[in-house]
């Protein structure tokens, strides 16, 4: 008998977006079951329904042969389902054990029994070979460990079924292997794991069976041993799609940006970028490689002028730009596509037209003697909407009404409406569907082909390998390796350096440091 079954699940969000439509899922006890599909295929919605965060409009859930419905996560937890989100739900200043037990604390009267909590978390960590110390605050742990804290949380609540939502997206290849060791240990001790992913080699490696979703529907369930990467990909997208971009040969002799001895310190006083040197040339894309939180984001922010620097020099086209305000840097040809479009790249309450000129408020085309030229602003928007095929009713619509991919297009349209000298890009395609990803990749390489120097950071190694001319690996804010992007460069090689397991010598790095 199946352990958990979802039958004919349908979910339509207010606003009419159909996320799930007749979805069927059968989970056998003790298996690793992967759910794959492109971004936007409805995997996350299905998992939210299994975990009680969303309620389905149609269909039913069957657990242990009995119909169940979860009013909220609490009910799902009580039924033995645990979920690890892609973005962790951990209180940063709390200790590991506090995070693990929160919500189901051991008590002694009205008192929170800390000793018992620590002992229990330690025991659990040992039992499933998760190697997590219960005492330090989670904010001090690397991402891989934080993820295992999340797994501990679910296990602590006696989860029989563990849902992992894109668990490998934030991990370096070696950390992925550690995660797989943990997953195998969980299954060996009787747990069932639902594994959501879109990276097929990993899926084939870890899972027993695979359910494929496409456009809100389940299109098939297969045994991992009976499929290949290629046939799975064809199922996923319904047609053969290869994501690749051609990069033209360019003249990369002109050095556009130089960073020397950059140091950045965060609000807690820890050094997040520790003496970084790098150059970016016209017509090349330099990829910043690293597990998230090793200084890539801070480096980009420091160059953009969004973060104060503790030491170092940044020059753009030979001119020092340290200490210059953001606007002056932009005036010198800097453009930037930020990591989080909603919290940083857009004002969702303002109109598309307003968002599209927000960086150009000293431009005489749009502002003269402090007054707005509304017609020019509207024409600019109409033009960019057409050029980037942004799906929106018109320039006067607020950005908040757009889909994720279209929002990202608004950001890209604004940043690349004029050819930049230096383009900073951070996680350009996170949470964006395949079509938009293709479009954004092409836009970035077009800018490069036309002579922009591009500095790119991404958590997705395949994106970095697809776009970059050179790759620089950061570990704890330092440069530990540098590569020219040759066909024989593998994610595994990069992973060794990303985790700080080895470091290149200055001599090794030299060919890739221009």
């Amino acid at each position: 008998m199946a352990l958990l079954e979802a039958i004919g699940i349908g979910k339509t969000y207010p606003g009419g977006v159909v996320a799930n439509d007749g979805v069927n899922l059968v989970i056998e006890p003790g298996e690793v079951h992967a759910v794959v599909g492109e971004n936007g295929a409805g995997k996350s919605t299905l998992m939210k329904i299994l975990f009680g965060i969303e309620q389905p409009n149609a269909g039913r859930l069957v657990l242990d042969g009995k119909d169940v419905s979860f009013a909220g996560p609490r009910a799902a937890i009580d039924a033995g389902i645990g979920m690890v989100f892609q973005h962790f739900s951990l209180v940063p200043s709390f200790a590991v054990y506090e995070n693990v037990v929160m919500g189901s604390e051991p008590r002694q009267g009205i008192r929170f029994d800390r000793k018992r909590a620590i002992a229990e978390v330690q025991a659990l960590s040992d039992k499933f070979r998760l190697k997590v110390d219960p005492l330090p605050p989670v904010s001090s742990l690397p991402v891989g460990q934080q993820q295992r804290v999340e797994i501990l949380k679910a296990l602590y609540r006696n989860a029989r079924i563990l849902i992992l939502d894109e668990p490998t997206a934030v991990l370096a290849p070696q950390e992925v292997q550690e995660l797989f060791v943990a997953i195998r240990s969980l299954v060996a001790q009787g747990k069932t794991v639902i594994f959501i992913a879109h990276k097929l080699p990993e899926v084939l490696e870890i899972s027993d069976r695979i359910t494929v979703m496409r456009q809100g529907k389940t299109v098939g369930q297969v045994k991992s041993s009976e499929v290949t990467e290629k046939s799975l990909a064809a199922l996923m997208v319904g047609r053969e799609v290869t994501l690749r971009v051609d990069r033209k040969p360019t003249d990369q002799s002109k050095r556009v940006a130089e960073v020397r001895g950059l140091r950045v310190v965060n609000a807690r006083g820890t050094e997040v970028v520790a003496g970084l040197d790098l150059n970016v040339h016209a017509g090349e894309i330099v990829g910043l490689v690293g597990v998230e939180g090793n200084g890539q984001a801070e480096t980009l922010e420091a160059i953009a002028g969004l973060k104060p620097i503790a030491a170092g020099d940044i020059t753009l086209s030979g001119e020092a730009i340290n200490g210059l305000p953001v606007l002056d840097r932009r005036g010198r040809g800097l453009a930037s596509i930020p990591e989080d479009r909603i919290s940083e790249g857009l004002a969702t309450g303002a109109t598309v037209a307003e968002n599209l000129v927000s960086t150009k408020l000293t431009d005489r085309r749009f502002v003269r003697s402090g007054l707005l030229d509304l017609k020019a602003i509207r024409d600019n928007a109409t033009k960019l909407i057409a050029e980037h095929s942004i799906r929106v009713g018109g320039p006067g619509y607020t950005v908040g009404t757009l889909s994720g991919g279209n929002m990202q297009k608004v950001v890209v349209a604004r940043e690349l409406s004029e050819q930049p000298k230096l383009l900073l890009v951070n996680q350009p395609t996170r949470g964006v569907d395949l079509g938009a990803t293709q479009f954004i990749w092409r836009t970035i390489t077009d800018a490069r082909d036309k002579g922009a120097a591009v500095l790119l950071s991404s958590a997705d190694l395949s994106e970095l390998l697809a776009l970059s001319d050179r790759l620089l690996v950061l570990y704890r804010g330092r440069l530990v390796a540098a590569f020219l992007n040759t066909p024989d460069l593998t994610p595994e090689t990069l992973g060794t350096y990303m985790l700080g397991l080895s470091t290149q010598t200055a001599e090794d790095m030299k060919p890739a440091l221009r």
Binding site: G72, P73, R74, I77, M83, F85, H87, S89, L90, V91, P92, S93, F94, E98, N99, M102, G103, S104, E105, R107, I110, R111, F112, K153, V265, N266, A267, R268, G269, P308, A310
Partner: protein, 314 residues
């Protein structure tokens, strides 16, 4: 100069400080509980004021402790109302807070007029009661230090002792019980407790209820001990000062105590100064607590900025 010296170091001045500190401390603790759960309670002022009036009116008909409980209860109700509008109806909590303040400013005068048959702004015609002071004069029997103990410890309001205990109780609750863990988790990163099945809105609702109850208790102390009876706007900004005290006290109960004591001391100055220096304009003396609050806020912020700068952030 000698006068002020004697006054400041006298036991009576100490008793005055405790008296002026108590309502502030209760409101500050209330502000702290709400703030730690991520719900900024700007309505402390209005909750206190309504607490004042409720306690005064109830004390006409019932024993003092019932009146105190009524003040506490009405504060809790107002907290629940704030939570309802902020979390169920998704209103901005700051605007909801100011709505409560406006309701309090007008509503208390209106309700008082009804209760007294038309009196505008003062309860002078109501036979309201006071909270009894705790008499510890038996301590005088202790040889040597006895009389000093009596002078310093006797004569405080019951609620002053309760407030002192509440500092400990709030600390214990926040840092030693599971619910305190929930509350701090909800305030710092609501996604985490939510994913653990902890109802975030409910935690915030309860913290607002407790916050309101503490503010209401502060109101009862103000209208049944510091002053006996109600006058319009008698809280005179104490709720807002308490909001400043939460920030100044570094979001910790002991910090809240120290901050409330600081503001209480300056208010006590404002109480004794007119008697000592009759040339000092009363208006300027009344300004003291507000000026001190701003000064403290600014100095605290400068210090926080320096601490960041020391670590090389700026």
């Amino acid at each position: 100069m000698m006068d002020i010296f004697l006054t400041v170091f006298s036991a009576t001045f100490f008793v005055t400080i405790i008296r002026t500190t108590t309502p502030l401390l209760l409101a500050t603790l209330g502000g702290l509980v709400a703030d730690l759960s991520g719900a900024l309670n700007v309505a402390l002022e209005g909750m206190m004021l309504i607490g004042c009036l409720t306690a005064v009116i109830v004390s006409v008909y019932a024993p003092w402790y019932v009146a105190v409980l009524a003040g506490l209860g009405v504060g809790g109700l107002l907290g629940a109302m704030m939570a309802f509008f902020a979390y169920r109806l998704k209103a901005d909590i700051i605007l909801v807070g100011f709505a409560v303040n406006i309701l309090a400013a007008g509503g208390t005068v209106f309700a008082l007029a009804l209760a007294t048959g038309g009196d505008k702004g003062t309860s002078i015609n109501l036979q309201s009661q006071a909270i009894p002071a705790v008499d510890l004069s038996f301590l005088s029997a202790i040889p040597g230090i006895g009389p000093i103990l009596t002078a310093f410890l006797s004569g405080h309001s019951v609620l002053s002792w309760l407030a002192a205990f509440l500092v400990f109780a709030v600390w214990y609750f926040l840092f030693r019980t599971p619910w305190g863990l929930w509350l701090r988790g909800v305030g710092e990163y609501p996604g985490a407790p939510e994913a653990a099945g902890i109802p975030v809105a409910k935690v915030r609702t309860w913290s607002l209820v407790v916050s309101g109850a503490l503010a209401g208790l502060g109101g009862a102390q103000l209208a049944m001990f510091n002053y006996v009876g109600f006058t319009r706007d008698m809280t005179a900004g104490r709720g807002f000062i308490a909001l400043g005290a939460v920030l100044l006290g570094a979001r910790h109960p002991v910090g809240a105590l120290l901050a409330a004591l600081l503001f209480g001391t300056f208010e006590a100055f404002a109480v004794v100064l007119p008697g000592l220096f009759n040339w000092m304009p009363a208006e300027l003396i009344r300004m003291i607590p507000f000026v001190v609050t701003i000064a403290a806020l600014v100095l605290f912020s400068i210090r926080a900025q320096r601490a960041l700068a020391m670590r090389g952030v700026k």
